[in-house]
Structures are given as structure tokens and as C-alpha cells.
């Protein structure tokens, strides 16, 4: 199929460019590692509080950190597209018969692969802190993380084509990402908060992904929570693909 072939081509091209500077993949891990080492231990006493999810603090905190990486890598991937837009690389692709969805899907899949790498490194680093997670929950979590990453990257690329400027892109992404970060209970579970905040948090699609991943990491598999996490993420992904495809198709003078 043409879309698969075009997506693979863009994916391999984008990945080979990214791997020329692999150090940045690891540098992108610094923030979550600092959170894990310097903020995570503060949560240990909180595990006794009413409303704190069952299990070790690492099982609650690491899924949140994984999604935090997603926000700060995939959701900011659009900045790379701005450089390609400015240098005319994107225009060069748009004069070809290439499938428009493949043009961003290949890039977004590259972002997901880099995200997987960062996530696995973070999980390994969390093991000495006491993290214990089975293979199946980990794989299921990675799949969910990949879907969230794909969603975030697609929206980021659409935003880049819409805004066309780093000056506008940075505040816009922060305006969206920070409420999402806070409302999704990435750092502290929303179950500790007041009811009104819990209700508001349900608006954020990430909340359901976080809940699903925490459920998987806790090893106490709540089928409904996990299903809801996948279902909401799936709908969010479909929406983001539609938005990004439209942005790549319509981006004309």
C-alpha cells in the first residue's frame, strides 16, 4: 500500500537524521531522571495516605513520568518540523505525489521509537528505586504509551503547520501541556485531590491513559480502567490523525 510505503520512507529518513545526534535522546531523559531521583523519594511517605493507589511509590510515579516524557518529547516534536518548513524541505515533499498522512505519520513514528528508547531506559533506572513490573503489563503500557506519543506528535505537527513560528509555538504548547500535565495526575495521583478536581481531570484524555498505566504497573489489572485508557486514547488518536492530515493537505497559500 502506498501509504505504508511512504510512511516507512519518511520514518527511516527521519530516524537516520535523528540518530546522527543520539546524545539528544539521552539528554531528553535528564528531566524525568531528576524527577525520579529528587522528587520520587518524597512520595514514599505519601503511600500511607488515604486515596494513594496501592503498591510502591515507584509503581505510581514511574507511569506518570513515562507520560511526562511523552509530553515533553512527542508533544514538542513540531519544533523540528518548523525547521524543515523554513528550509523548504517540507515544500519539496509536498510537490511530490507522496501521501499526505504519511508525511507526518513517518515522523510521528520516529518520535514514538525514540520515546520507547527513553521509556525503557527510565524503567531500567527505576528498578534500583524499587520498581517491579511484569513483562505483560510493561508491554501493554508501552503500547499505550506509543499511542499517546503518536497522538501528541501528530497534534504537535499540526500546530507547527498552523502557527509556522517558534515564537508562537512555545507558548501555545505550554498553554496546552501544562494544564494537561497538572490535570492528568502525572506527578501526584488525582485520587488524593478534592472531588471537583477529580471531575475536571476526567476531561483530559491523558488522565485515562495515566490511570490505565498505573493499573498495569500495580499488577492489579483493572480491566475496565485499562480498557477505558486504550479506548479514550484511541479516539484521541483518531482525532489527532484527522487534524494533522488536514493540516498537511491544506497547508497551501
Amino acid at each position: 500500500m502506498k501509504i505504508l510505503r511512504d510512511t516507512w520512507l519518511i520514518f527511516t529518513r527521519s530516524l537516520s537524521i535523528a540518530l546522527r545526534n543520539p546524545i539528544w535522546v539521552l539528554i531528553g531523559l535528564m528531566q524525568p531522571i531528576l524527577y525520579l531521583a529528587l522528587f520520587g523519594p518524597l512520595l514514599a511517605p505519601l503511600t500511607q495516605l488515604q486515596g494513594f493507589p496501592p503498591g510502591d511509590w515507584t509503581n505510581v510515579f514511574v507511569p506518570g513520568l513515562l507520560l511526562q516524557i511523552t509530553i515533553f518529547s512527542a508533544f514538542f516534536a513540531g519544533f523540528g518540523l518548523l525547521a524543515e518548513l523554513r528550509s523548504g524541505v517540507l515544500e519539496r515533499m509536498r510537490v511530490t505525489p507522496m501521501n499526505r498522512m504519511a508525511m507526518f505519520l513517518g515522523r510521528a513514528l520516529r518520535d514514538v521509537v525514540l520515546l520507547f528508547t527513553q521509556s525503557l531506559v527510565l524503567v531500567l533506572l527505576a528498578l534500583p528505586f524499587g520498581l517491579r513490573v511484569g513483562l505483560f503489563p510493561l508491554v501493554a503500557s508501552m503500547i499505550l504509551l506509543g499511542l499517546v506519543g503518536l497522538t501528541m506528535a501528530s497534534l504537535s505537527y499540526a500546530a507547527a503547520l498552523w502557527l509556522k513560528s517558534e515564537d508562537a509555538m512555545a507558548p501555545f504548547l505550554n498553554m496546552v501541556a501544562v494544564p494537561m500535565l497538572l490535570l492528568s495526575g502525572l506527578l501526584l495521583p488525582m485520587s488524593l485531590g478534592p472531588d471537583w478536581l477529580k471531575w475536571i481531570s476526567l476531561v483530559s484524555p491523558l488522565t485515562h491513559a495515566v490511570d490505565a498505566m498505573r493499573s498495569l504497573f500495580a499488577g492489579q489489572f483493572d480491566a475496565l480502567t485499562v480498557f477505558r485508557g486504550f479506548a479514550v486514547t484511541g479516539v484521541f488518536l483518531a482525532f489527532s490523525l484527522w487534524v494533522a492530515t488536514g493540516a498537511f493537505s491544506r497547508s497551501q497559500a
Binding site: 502506498k2 529518513r13 510537490v95 497559500a253
Partner: protein
């Protein structure tokens, strides 16, 4: 700089099969008369209200080397942008080898190769990757694209540089890389937007030779350029666009025939420009400096009698030269707002 003449091989020194083989066609294809590009009543009004095109109609025959000329802001880039699918038209139709760019855009784009004015490749990618990936964008299998890259990079003098990152190339090599990239899917219609902008004279001449050989191999070429000498040297047909309208079109010869008079510069052997101007009053003279005078020679009159007149009055003429290229003269007169009457 001898870069182009030493590294760009002429058609007869290319690998077996030559450029025609590289382009996948028999050598020396004759024009068929079929329209490579057909534009009808094309209009474009931008969201700002600017009317960039006001009903442009244009036909470029298969195998032609066609120049689209016009001052900055005339509408050249808009026309090209619409053909390439980068700009949405307001009204009108555009077809490439009979394929409408709206209804059959994927097929129409396969016919087109584009060499934009600005360098637009990732400077951290290798030469080979840039060319081969471009083939992939057109659905060409990687193995085939690699073979074609070799066929194209050799005559462009880039084969030895194929594994180098493109940012290490010289300016001339980058320009040639843009051409190589545009040719990898063997387009039958090549759009060159200011291909020699900013390159030195020797390199430009070398590129002319290459472009001529491309046309001889059967590729239809649309050229926009600010170097009117370039259009005069390379193209058979041309159109001049100004304020979004075609104000002249036809063969270069026909367009030049519109020049009813020509400005000629006379370099005198002595500082006698004032006396010369007085003697050549019928030639509408302008004194440029004490030893130089410009005159206007009407069609059929010739400059000979003027030179004889000066010599008879002991004002020897050292050199006679046109003030500018003839096409440039037509262009300036047509676009200077004097009603298009050269």
C-alpha cells in the same frame, strides 16, 4: 573557478547511454506538438486581496525550452506554485501532459520535476540519500533509485561526492544537486526557478550546456530567470508576465522583433561626446561621460551611418556595443509601463 568545466561532463563524455539513457528516453527526441503544460484563464487572489494572476493562459509544447519572464512580483512564482500544487488557484485550469492538477494531481505531479531557487534539502543528509529518498517520494524502489542516482550524479560531477554530507558541497555543487534530485524520477517536464541565481559566469555556462542536453534528451523545460541573456541563449519560446497578465508571448525571435529600436553605446577614442551628440541629433543621443555617448538606432536604419558621420568629423569610434541585451531591452520597455510598445 574551473569547477564546472572540470567536473561537469559534457554529454559526449557521460557513462554509457548518456543523458538520454539516464532520463530513460531515446536520444534527440523531437517535439511532438503535444502540450506539456496547458494553463487556461488562471486567476489567483490571495486572502489579503492581492490579485496575483488575472486570467493567465499559456501553452508549452512537449520538448520546448520555455522562459517565463517578468519583474519581481509579476506573478511568475504564483504560476509555478500553482502548477506544483503549493498554491491554490482561485479559478482556471492547469493540466500537465493532459492530466488536470486538481482531478488527477498524483499523476500530474509525476510528470513534474522542480528545481527551486532556494536550496531546500537537509544539509546534514548525504548527497546519495537526498537523491535516492527523492526517488522514493515518487514511488521508485530504492534499488532502482540508486541506479538512477549513479546515472545522474556522474554527468553532474557529483558521483565522487555521493557519500558526503551536502553542507560540505560548494555552492555550485549544491545547485547541481538540486538538479540531480529533480531528475531522479525522470520527469518529462522540468521547472527551473532561477537555477543559476548567484552562481559565477563559468558555472552558469556549464549549467546551460547541461540544460541544453536535457532538452535534447526530450525533457520539456520551463525556466524563470532574471538573466535575460540566459533565456535568449537557451529558450525557443518565452512569455513575459507583468502585474499578473501575460503581456507578450511567442518565439524569442518574435518577441525580439517587437524591438523597433535599440539603444547603442559608442565609446569614443577622444573626449568628444558633446560634439558627437550634436552631430547625431537624429539618433536621440545621450552623453554618458566625456568619451561615451548613447544613441537610439531605429529598425532598418543601422548604426553604420552614425559611425561614418563621426569619423568624417575626426571623432574616431573605439567601440560600438548594445547598451543591454536585446531581450532585456524588450523586457524593460514592456514592463516599464509605456503601454507595451517597444
Amino acid at each position: 573557478m574551473a569547477e564546472f568545466s572540470t567536473s561537469l561532463e559534457k554529454p559526449d563524455s557521460r557513462p554509457a547511454g548518456g543523458l538520454a539513457a539516464a532520463m530513460g528516453r531515446p536520444a534527440a527526441q523531437a517535439p511532438t506538438g503535444r502540450a506539456a503544460l496547458s494553463i487556461r484563464n488562471l486567476t489567483k487572489t490571495y486572502a489579503s486581496g492581492t490579485q496575483a494572476l488575472k486570467g493567465v493562459s499559456l501553452d508549452i509544447a512537449e520538448g520546448d525550452f520555455f522562459a517565463l519572464l517578468g519583474p519581481n512580483g509579476a506573478g511568475k512564482t504564483t504560476v509555478i506554485g500553482i502548477v506544483m500544487g503549493l498554491v491554490t488557484k482561485t479559478a482556471g485550469t492547469v493540466s500537465v501532459f493532459g492530466h488536470d492538477i486538481d482531478r488527477d494531481h498524483a499523476r500530474a505531479r509525476k510528470f513534474i520535476g522542480v528545481v527551486p531557487q532556494e536550496l531546500n534539502f537537509n544539509i546534514f543528509e548525504k548527497v546519495m540519500d537526498i537523491v535516492v529518498n527523492q526517488g522514493g517520494y515518487y514511488g521508485i524502489p530504492r534499488k532502482v533509485a540508486i541506479e538512477r542516482a549513479e546515472e545522474i550524479l556522474h554527468p553532474l560531477g557529483l558521483w565522487e561526492k555521493r557519500w558526503e554530507v551536502s553542507r560540505t558541497l560548494s555552492g555550485g555543487m549544491k545547485r547541481r544537486l538540486m538538479i540531480a534530485r529533480a531528475l531522479v524520477h525522470r520527469p518529462q517536464f522540468l521547472i527551473l526557478d532561477e537555477p543559476t541565481a548567484g552562481v559565477d559566469v563559468e558555472l552558469r555556462r556549464g549549467m546551460w550546456d547541461y540544460l541544453r542536453s536535457l532538452r535534447e534528451s526530450g525533457t520539456t523545460i520551463l525556466l524563470t530567470t532574471h538573466y535575460l541573456e540566459e533565456a535568449e541563449q537557451l529558450c525557443k519560446h518565452a512569455a513575459i508576465i507583468n502585474h499578473g497578465e501575460i503581456i507578450a508571448s511567442g518565439t524569442i525571435k518574435d518577441i525580439l522583433a517587437r524591438l523597433k529600436s535599440e539603444r547603442v553605446t559608442l565609446d569614443l577614442a577622444a573626449p568628444a561626446a558633446q560634439q558627437a551628440a550634436a552631430l547625431l541629433a537624429g539618433y536621440r543621443p545621450v552623453v554618458v561621460d566625456p568619451s561615451t555617448v548613447e544613441v537610439e538606432v531605429d529598425e532598418g536604419r543601422g548604426i553604420g551611418p552614425a559611425v561614418v558621420t563621426l569619423q568624417d568629423n575626426d571623432i574616431p569610434v573605439q567601440m560600438v556595443r548594445p547598451k543591454s541585451g536585446r531581450l532585456e531591452e524588450v523586457f524593460l520597455r514592456l514592463t516599464s509601463g509605456n503601454g507595451g510598445a517597444p
